[in-house]
Structure formats: structure tokens, C-alpha cells
Amino acid sequence: MHALKKHTPMQWVVLGLCGLFAVLMLAPFLLLVLNAFKSGADYSSGGPIAWPKSFTLDAFRDYMSMVDFPRALWNSILISTVVAFAGTGLALISAYAIGIGRVKGSAVILAVLLLATMVPHEALIYPLFYGAQETGTFNTVWSVIIIFTVLQAAFGTYLLSSVMSTVPKELLDAAGIDGAGRWTILWKIILPVLRPTLAVLVVFFFIWTWNEFYIPVVLLADASSQTVPIALSTLRGQHSIDITTLNAGSLLSLLPTLVFFLIFQRTLSHGVTAGSIK
């Protein structure tokens, strides 16, 4: 009977609260959009919250003239995509060894891997810098790709190996009796089971790598190899900031991750609940 009843006042209150919360969550983004389309004079006289007197694309034009955005965008997409897939692939293989296979001291290995993801990047930067120079990858996107593939894979290994340890042993035994080798078990049994989790990892690795700043800013000194966040940072002076241009730039930099998120939204929400129901 309850299901047929019209909405109760309580439900309206909850809905209202949810709506309010959504606006609150979106507020920073709305502010970004609002100020990206203001003129500099408008921003200066009205402040960040005022409604623009007129909408203009000046800020975008300025941003495009100051920064080689297409180049930075391409670099960011290349780095993030390669890292997302290579990192997940590497994590899958190493997690297979640790989570399913019998490796002595696997707990210690996992602890070390977890440590690698927790160490602040500042502590790693000197060895990475000299390593990049010795291998000739300094100032190329490949230094950053290699480093982040390894760093993200370390976290991925930790996560995947604990997920793999929940795969029923009977399933693996049955496959073994049917004559499946280790390679076949990985590809034909583990991979399909883990597919949703892997998809989530790919998305996370993409977004995390996209937003990285410190290591890229050191290793990608040259303008031709800069990523989007670094290009964005060149807009800030010591004693002056061009807020509207910065907002326009941030908005443009956000769009690709937004598009990426929308495309993979389904896999994401799938993946989050993937482990919960067997």
C-alpha cells in the first residue's frame, strides 16, 4: 500500500535537501564557468560572485594566445592514456603473481608497493631526474609515462591482489582440472571476473595522471612537452594573476576529464559496486 501513496512531506524535504546539496557541490564549478565568460573589467568591479554584465570569449582568446593549448592537450591525453592502460596491465600481471600465485613474502612485497605510493614525490624527484637524464628521456613525455605507469601500477597491484584473493579457489581448481595453464586462467577466468574493477582502475589512473603536477613540472621543462596543468600554471605571475584567463583555462582543461568521465560513467558506477554482490 505504501508504494502507491503519493510523496509524503518528508520525501519532499529530503528531495529539497538533496537539491541544495547538489547545488553546493556544483558551486565551485558554476563559479568557474561564470568567471570564465566575464571581461576583466567586469570581474574587477563586481568580484567573483556577481552575475556578468555581458558574456564574452575574451578570456578564452587570451588563454589560447598565451599557451599552446592543443599541444599541451595532446601531451596530457597521450600521457594519461598510456599510463592508464599500461599501469592497469602491469598491475594485473603482478597482482596475478601475488594474489593467485604463491609468492613467498607477498605481504612484504605489498607493503613495499604501498609505501611507494605513499612516499611524497618530493623525496623521489632527484633520483627520477637523474634517471631521466641518463636514459635520455628527460624533457620527453616518456619519462613521465614510465614513472607514472610504475607508480600507478604499484597501487593497482595492491588493490587487485586483494580483490584476486577473493576469487573462489574452487573456480581455479576446476579450471586446473580442465587442463587450463596459468596463462589461460589469467586470460579466461581472472580477467572476465575482474573486468569491472580494471575499468575503474583505468579511469582513476587516467584522472590521477591528468592532474599530476610536481613530477611533470620538473621533468618536462620544455614548452613542447608540457601538460595541461603545467601550461595553466604559466598564467600566474609573482605579483599579478589574470583571474578570468585562469578560469577560462581551467574550464578548458577540465573538459577532457569531464568527457572521459561521462563516457566511462557506466563502467565507473558498475565497478564501485562490482565486488559487493557475488
Binding site: A41, Y43, S44, A223, H239
Partner: protein, 433 residues
Amino acid sequence: MTTRRKAVALIGAAALSLATFGCGGGDDSGGGDGKTLRIVQYENPTSAQGQGWQKALEIFKQKHPDVEVKFEQTSFDAARQNAKITLSGNDVPDVVEFNKGNADGGQLAAQGLLEPLTEQVTKYGWDKKVTGGMSAFAKYDEDGYAGSGDWYGIPNIGEYVMFYYNKELFSKAGITTLPTTLDEFEAAMDKLIAAKIIPISSSAATSQGFNQMWVWYSLVSAQANRQQIDDFMFVRQPVDFEAAPWSDGTKKFQEWIDKGYVGDKLGGLSFEQATVNFLSGKAAMLIWNNGEFARIRKDASFDWDYFTLPGANMTMGSSGHLWGVPAKAENKELAYEWIDTTLSPEVQNEIGKLGGLPLAGDASVITDPITKKFTERFNELVQADTLTFYPDYPVPGFLDFIQQHMQAMSNKNETADQYIDTLQKFYDEGKGK
């Protein structure tokens, strides 16, 4: 089987892309041939200095048609964080822009990452263009202390701190003549407060809220002399912060906070927000340097002008960022030529016309009256040698320390005496000699 085929295709594609990009990334410009010049700088390309350098690029390319010039843009923060690491690498630029001060430029010089320029300075006559206090932060001794020793950097421009004011709000509060002494200035601010107008737009967030620090140091500078500032700045003689001008200036600063001359709730504001508060007409004055001159000109919807602190002995200001030549640079001769080009009259006057306060420009070629007056005031201060630099230069970590205490004082959690106490300790421990 399709999965496997896909995997093979993927690996193949990855290998292919690796191969193609590997070639692109691996080229080595094999320097030292005098055919390339790599410049790394962080000035906004639309700023006066940025546009002056575009002109310098044209001139340089005309003079050296066979040289390939790479003019690269980075950010102030990135350049500052990475200077040490990039200059110690194999693939260093030929000219870099770097930040002055013991903590930044001084460290680079002391660690041998920058080439001493003293010989070039006399050869090209740069010391005729960069004189007095403007050259202080271009020179560093072997421990990295500014003010003496070899030249390591060459500035192009200068900067000074002023009070921009809103003429309409001034007349609304009944201020008819501009104050010429500190007492008159305070009387004018009393009138503004009586008219319910915030006199000075300020800020004191620990990150980017520099206005209060500038108010404080302007008040110290107002009563200081060259000797006292140089002792503090270049760590020459012990500084007694309990004595003038430090204690008096700091007490005056507290008085200003208590009287509401700088507004309230400053702890979370940044300089950008302080600028907006001035431009939107919420406050009558803004303390800032020439960094916002062009913006105020463009964006202010009211009649405005500016003055330096009335009745002050000395004024905050210094030379700009520096050109340096990395010790490992491969085309040093071209680098010197480039620095000389940026100091040439054509480039300097271009910077001057755009309001960039050039060190070797000629104010008489500036046609715009506001820019001309603004430049002439700067030249006066340089000639009188009364610029006091920025207070955070002498000791590493000083900026964060001062900012923290500026915030505490602005929130009225700390008194002038308490601040002076900790300041004395921090300075004495940090100065290292």
C-alpha cells in the same frame, strides 16, 4: 581467440608508437655551435616586460639571422622550485630568468650553477645602466649573500610600492588636498572611516595575502635610513628589532590595525581579492606595486591616481627578476648578446612606454602622462637610492614566517611586542653568519 588477437594488436600498436615517439624525443641539439640560443623565462607575454622582450627577440634575430632562438615560457613558481634541479642537469638553457634574493638567486650562485658575469658587466657597460640599489640583488658573495661579490644576474626593470587611491571616495569623505606627511595621511584616513569607507584595501592570508606585510614594511621603511635597511637586508651588522625603525614601525602598524585603517577579517584574503575590493569601490586605497598598474588602468571604473607613502624617508621597491647564464650553458656568448639586447635603448624604451619601469629607459620618450609621471617617480626613488627592497629577502623561510605573523597580528592574536620578539629570534637564528 579474439581476446588474444586483440592483445597482440595492442602490443603491436604500443611498440609502433614507442618507436615513432622515441625518435622524436631523442634528438640532441648538440650545443656549443653558436647556432642556437635557448631562453627560459616566466614573464606574462602581455606584460610590459614581456612585450619588450618580443621586441628584443626581433632585434636579436635580425642581428643573428643564422641563430635559432628558442624562447620558452614557464611559470614563476615552477622556475623557482626547479631552478636548482634544471640548472644542474645536462640539457640546460643558455639564458634563464631567476628570482633574486639569498634564498633563490644566492643559492644558485653559491652552488656554482650560475656563471659569474662581472667580466661581461664591464665589457658591455651594464653597470652604467643598472646602478645603486638596483644592482644590490644582482651581486652575490661566495656564500650566496646578496649585496657584494660577483655579478650573477642582470635585471631589466624595477618595481615600487604605492598607494593607489579612488578620487571619488576621497572627495566623498571630504579630503580636498593630498596628504604630504604621515600625520596628514592618518587624518585623511580618519575622515574616510568617519564616512564609513575602508581606507586601505589589504590582505593577510598566509598564501598570497601580501598586502599587510607591505603595509608593515612600508611603515618601517618610512622611518629608516639606508644604513639600517642595508644592515638588515644584507646581514651586515646585527639588527636590534627593539629599536627604531623596527619597533616604531611595528607599533604604528598595530595602531593602524586597531583603528581599522586596513579593514578587518583580513586573515583569509589574498592580494587578488584586495585588488578587487579596491576596484569595486569598497575601499578607498590599495597598497600594491606596479604589478597591477596596467590592470587598474584598464579596469577601474572611477577616477584614480596614486602616491607613495606620504612623509616617508624610504619606500618599498627593488629591481625586477634577473637574467642569468647557467654555468653549464653551451652558447654563453649568444647569451651575453641577448642580455645586452634587452638592455638596449629600443627595448628599454618600449618597456617604458608600456609602463614597465625600465632601468635604462628614457622617461622623456613616454607620451602618456600617467605612465610618464609614474616612471619619473620611480626614477626619482632610484636616483635618491631610497628603495628598501622586500622584507623577506634576507633569511630562507622568512616569507612564510612573516606572513604567519602578519595574519596573527591582523586577527589581533598577537601584539607588536610579541611579533618583534619572535622576529628577532627568527632573524638571528636564520641569518647564518
